[in-house]
């Protein structure tokens, strides 16, 4: 009997494997994002300090990350680290590293601009009420900054999730890799598998990213109120 194309998705545990692949990709993005938020906050606060050296170094870091394609960074860390430093990183580990390196820079810049967007009067107002510097930061400045940067942080997360499709190139078995395996395995029985499998991957990415992108839009609208 001729296979219907769509059946390739449900043969054996193919669909489950695709989901697992999606989870592998998502896990990299989520872990990297969590680390980026933490480090990005520190980096962002660091960038608000008026110090030539600090500002110069952060500028270089930021520009490097922005100019360099993520794929080059991935190759650099995955292959470069193994070859020149003798560190044998797993593909997933290297991906998390690179994504965190990228995310910290982007997040840091978001935090920096959110922090300086809080008017100096707000700091003064806290101080005038007898609050210590850290209290002013903790109760007044940071909550306001978080509100400001939340939409862009969520959209950074969606960008990260999308970009995980690159990590297949350093051998991480994520959703695209699993898809390729399924297509290869059914090359003869189902020549149209590619369309269905990549279609399914498209929908999976959509299902994961759409809620986040919607959330970013909602937050943006709320913020504008």
């Amino acid at each position: 009997m001729q296979d219907l194309g769509i059946q390739v998705l449900f043969r054996g545990n193919n669909f489950l494997r695709l989901l697992e692949g999606m989870w592998a990709a998502l896990r990299i993005a989520l872990i990297a994002m969590a680390l980026s938020v933490l480090l990005g906050f520190l980096f962002g606060m660091l960038m608000t300090i008026h110090n030539r050296a600090i500002q110069c170094i952060s500028r270089i870091y930021l520009e490097t990350v922005r100019i360099m394609p993520q794929l080059v960074l991935l190759f650099l860390v995955y292959f470069g680290a193994a070859k020149h430093m003798g560190v044998n990183l797993s593909g997933e580990m290297a991906s998390i590293l690179v994504f965190t390196f990228w995310g910290t820079a982007e997040m840091g810049d978001l935090v920096r601009s959110a922090l300086i967007a809080v008017p100096t009067h707000q700091y003064e107002s806290g101080a005038a009420l007898g609050m210590k510097k850290w209290q002013t930061y903790f109760y007044i400045v940071i909550p306001q900054s978080v509100r400001r940067l939340l939409p862009s942080a969520v959209s950074l997360l969606t960008r990260m999730i999308k970009t995980t499709s690159l990590v297949v190139l350093i051998g991480v078995v994520e959703v695209v890799k699993v898809g390729k395996q399924i297509i290869d395995a059914s090359r003869y029985t189902n020549p149209k598998a590619a369309l269905w499998v990549y279609g399914a991957i498209f929908l999976l990415y959509f299902a994961v990213c759409f809620p986040f992108s919607k959330l970013a839009a909602v937050l943006e609208r709320k913020l504008a109120e």
Partner: protein, 250 residues
Amino acid sequence: MEPILQTKHLQKSYDGSHQILKDINFSIKQGEVVVIVGPSGCGKSTFLKCLNMLEPMDRGEIYLDGKSIEREGKNISLYRQKVGMVFQSYELFPHLNVMDNLLLAPRKVQKRKKEEIQKEAETLLLRVGLWEKRKAYPRELSGGQKQRVAIVRALLMHPEVLLLDEITAALDPEMVREVLQVVQELAKEGMTMVIVTHEMKFAKAVADRVLFMDGGIIVEEENPQEFFVYPKTDRAKQFLNTFHYAALEI
């Protein structure tokens, strides 16, 4: 009576050269209301900020209850709790509602009990006519309402002295009144206040003493009846004249 707050030889300059305050000797007694007037850029707002130590001064001393205040260190927080300040631009915290704006500092800085402060806050809000707004966010309030909340926020810290920095300058005329009424009531109750304002009628009504500042010095120091009717110096006369002109034009 001993002055409650006092400065001796207070000096302040920006960029090391432009001297904005030249040797200010100032004192205020318990329950007294001192109004500072003067042309824009005469240093009156800077002086208030120095009094609250929001601006570092170059030279001079500040005394509270007869004790000299160190310019740095942890005592500043304690000092600022005793010398409260209200700003021209209200500076409520936009992410907190009215009640949380009021509770934040008494809870976190003075570690007082929430119920106790809340009760006091409600009483004060009732007095300034904003009890219904206790759950509202600053963006939902008018300028005059925000400023009244800001005054209540400062009062909840139980300051010994309150500094008011042009608190009606950013308000529409019809809102000026509601804010000044609150201040006038505070004055009647014996609150010690240093007020910088451009509202001359208000100054005349509320002040026990008027300081006229110009060019970084206190040019004249008088009771309001005397100052507004018979200013001694030419500079003060000129300054008061500009207000008469403004009144004529309308």
